[in-house]
């Protein structure tokens, strides 16, 4: 899994996981490099590229989501838009067939239809880019942090030792684009499971192994893994 991606072992803006060199990072493979195939060569260069425009990445060592997530979301959106377009046209045709000639009500329906389509195109095609710009994650010695949200911004941090277990989930569309969802489960109540969409499969798997490797020493003392 790591074979093609271990390019950048000592990048200057590298994540603290590299610097601190704890035993877990040595064993489980250093994570914070996004390292997902040919598109990402180095997280440092990536950070500098995106730093100007991406507010969620303004802090140090934040990693962006995989840009392929835009393509994946657009694919889904366009399927929905196509369905809505065809359905709407069909409905309007039926309406016209019943009350010909077109009246004011039809005009209102048509305007609403166009507005809806415009909104769907914006939300489906352009919004994912904005959302991507506002989403980022970071794994450092403190824990795993996620930032996301365009209007309502959410920043959530899970301390490393609090990770109970992690899941990597892939839907059919995600699989096509090589994406995955990472679900981090804590023993908490309101944020008991935190899902992060739009990671590349490799990143998600590495994050999972990193987080799980890190939570194992915590469980040993209280042998039965009870949340304390």
């Amino acid at each position: 899994m790591l074979s093609e991606t271990r390019v950048n072992t000592d990048n200057p803006g590298g994540p603290p996981g590299n610097v601190s060199g704890s035993e877990t990072t040595d064993e489980a493979g250093v994570i914070p490099a996004p390292a997902t195939g040919e598109r990402f060569e180095s997280p440092a260069s990536m950070t500098t590229v995106v730093a100007e425009s991406q507010s969620a990445l303004s802090g140090s060592n934040f990693q962006p989501l995989d840009p392929r997530t835009v393509a994946a979301e657009r694919t889904l959106s366009w399927i929905i838009i196509a369905v809505v377009t065809v359905g709407g046209l069909f409905g309007q045709a039926i309406y016209l067939a019943i009350n010909w000639p077109p009246d004011l009500i039809f005009l209102a329906i048509a305007v609403a239809y166009v507005l809806l389509l415009a909104f769907l195109v914006w939300a489906g095609h352009f919004y994912p880019v904005i959302a991507l710009r506002h989403a980022a994650w970071r794994l450092d010695e403190q824990g795993f942090e996620i930032r996301r949200g365009v209007w309502w911004r959410h920043e959530i941090t899970v301390p490393r030792s609090r990770v109970q277990h992690t899941d990597v989930h892939q839907g059919p569309l995600m699989r096509k684009f090589g994406l995955a969802r990472l679900v981090i489960n804590t023993a908490g109540t309101h944020n008991a499971s935190i899902a992060l969409d739009g990671l590349s499969l490799e990143t998600a798997q590495k994050l999972r192994s990193e987080l799980v490797a890190d939570s194992i020493p915590q469980r040993e003392p209280s042998e039965f893994g009870e949340p304390r």
Binding site: G149, W152, R162, T186, T189, N191, E220, P221
Partner: protein
């Protein structure tokens, strides 16, 4: 088998107390009431076939109860509690003793008469007890409890003694068991608090718990009347006959007030009765880390919470309670105590301390979290952003102003007046709300208080925090504010989520970093 019952030899099977049969039988009748009634009905009306089927069903379920009693046995083998039951479907349950968190007891009046108790063995998992032994004799229960906790202690000692956590084989454990038992006996119970009758009465006065009881009672009474075939019309007609002739408005008003007063007083009396029934002879004691609550007038409940398992402590002060200078304390642990009907779980969590005088709080907090020097006034409270009150008020002004313009244009004068009154109320409330909120961080604890009418002050332990979040709404960003919230392992009886809104964004982010740093250090 009866002679062996009180010996505490290991590996030996123990059965339930013979009176279990009666209690299970009564419980069975209660749950099987409909088939039983059907059987009776069938017998009396002569349609014996349906009756027979119901009777067979009834007898069958009763047989299951008897079989359960006959076959249920438990034993302590090594460091496991093993419970077997069933004939056709044999259930063999193994509970590792280290996982047993506490052993709780419920005793209703009949249990007490027979000197037996319903014993619940609880582990950390889930909301339900791991095993319910209904019922054991008190002697049997005490010996079981002593043996389980002796083993638990020896296991913990073995763990702390061994440098490697893995190096705690059962051999060492067995050796330690005998050595530790006297020491365990020495660390005896220390009573932390008792609640007097007067305090329960105060709590009853402060609460409105009686309202529900009164409504149920009234409903019952009115139903009785209707079964005596009196319509509501006749009742009211009769009531008016008792009124004086040609009664004036003042008399009517006085009567109405007297009626309301009587209603209020009966609600309060019922509330007091409820508190006394439930919490009579409340005792909170501690042995080592285990806090035990026992209380109840008729049904006595004894429930245990391990101090190190407490996730959140919440002090509640209701409006009337503040006048009477009383408060209550709820605690949250992992699992249990939510809306569940389980009496021990709710007593130990939701009703951990049903009433406490203001002056006793520091002493109790000292017991609950000794690391924290409790002084609510001395805490370094961080208020919300200085613009927080103005922000809510401006929002209220904008929304109400818009509505008022619309209502004014439509010529709805009463609506405008109502909006003005509502606006004044909202103005006052938003100021109070912001003033009531405070956040403090002390000695590895997060303290959050909020509430205008019912004030809640909750303490969360940073080393038990599961995640920390910062949320910014578009308005938050405009005002440079943020909501800081922490997530704990809790099941919710405290009803106080730690989410502090409208903090200065920079401060909130800094706090987040500090909390995360110390939370990640805690293992």
């Amino acid at each position: 088998m009866t002679e062996q019952r009180h010996k505490s030899t290991d590996q030996e099977a123990h059965w339930l107390h013979p009176s279990s049969l009666v209690f299970e039988f009564v419980g069975g009748i209660r749950s099987q009431l409909i088939p039983a009634l059907l059987a009776l009905f069938g017998a009396t009306t002569g349609t014996w076939l349906g009756g027979l089927i119901a009777l067979l069903y009834f007898v069958g379920s009763m047989t299951a109860v008897v079989l359960r009693y006959v076959t249920l046995r438990y034993r302590l083998v090594g460091d496991e509690l093993i419970i077997d039951e069933g004939v056709i479907f044999h259930v063999h349950r193994t509970v590792p003793i280290q996982r047993i968190q506490n052993i709780d007891v419920v005793q209703n009046p009949f249990h007490r008469l027979l000197r037996v108790a319903e014993v619940r063995i609880e582990t950390a998992s889930g909301t339900e007890p791991e095993a319910v032994l209904r019922v054991l004799s008190l002697a049997e229960f005490e010996s079981l409890r002593a043996r389980i906790f002796a083993r638990k202690r020896s296991y913990e000692l073995a763990q702390s003694a061994a440098s490697e956590p893995a190096a705690a084989p059962p051999v060492i454990l067995e050796q330690l068991t005998s050595a530790v038992q006297p020491a365990g006996q020495a660390a005896q119970r220390e009573t932390i608090m008792k609640i007097s009758f007067a305090q329960l009465a105060l709590a009853g006065i402060a609460s409105n718990r009686g309202t529900a009881l009164l409504l149920v009672g009234l409903g019952f009474v009115s139903q009785q009347f209707s079964t005596v075939a009196r319509s509501w019309r006749i009742e009211t007609a009769e009531l008016t006959r008792y009124l004086p002739e040609n009664s004036s408005a003042i008399v009517m008003l006085a009567l109405a007030i007297a009626g309301l007063l009587a209603l209020l007083i009966s609600v309060k009396i019922l509330s007091i009765a409820w508190y006394v029934l439930k919490f009579y002879d409340y005792t909170l004691d501690r042995s080592g880390d285990a806090l035990r609550v026992s209380c109840g007038l008729l049904t006595r409940v004894s429930a245990t919470v391990r101090r190190d398992r407490i996730q959140l402590i919440s002090i509640r002060r209701t409006l009337i309670g503040r006048w009477l200078r009383i408060a209550s304390i709820r605690i949250e642990t992992a699992g249990g105590g939510g809306d569940s009907d389980d009496p021990t779980a709710t007593i130990a969590r939701r009703w951990f301390l049903p009433v406490i005088s203001e002056a006793q709080i520091p002493a109790i907090m000292e017991q609950l979290c000794p690391e924290l020097k409790w002084g609510e006034r001395a805490f370094d409270w961080q208020r919300l952003s200085s613009k927080a009150a103005w922000r809510t008020r401006r929002m209220i002004l904008l929304a109400l102003g818009l509505l008022m313009i619309v209502a004014g244009l439509l010529g709805l004068t009463p609506v405008v007046v109502a909006l003005v009154l509502f606006g004044a109320l909202a103005w006052w409330w938003s100021g109070r709300r912001v003033a009531a909120m405070g956040y403090a961080r002390h000695d590895g604890k997060i303290i959050f208080r909020s509430g205008v009418f019912t004030q809640k002050c909750s303490i969360a332990f940073i080393d038990k925090i599961q995640s920390v979040a910062i949320d910014l709404s578009p308005f938050d960003r405009r005002w440079n504010m943020a909501t800081l919230s922490v997530d704990t392992v809790a099941s919710g009886p405290a009803e106080h989520r730690i989410a502090i809104p409208m903090l200065d964004a920079a401060y909130a982010r800094n706090e987040r970093d500090v909390i995360c740093r110390s939370a990640s250090l805690a293992r």
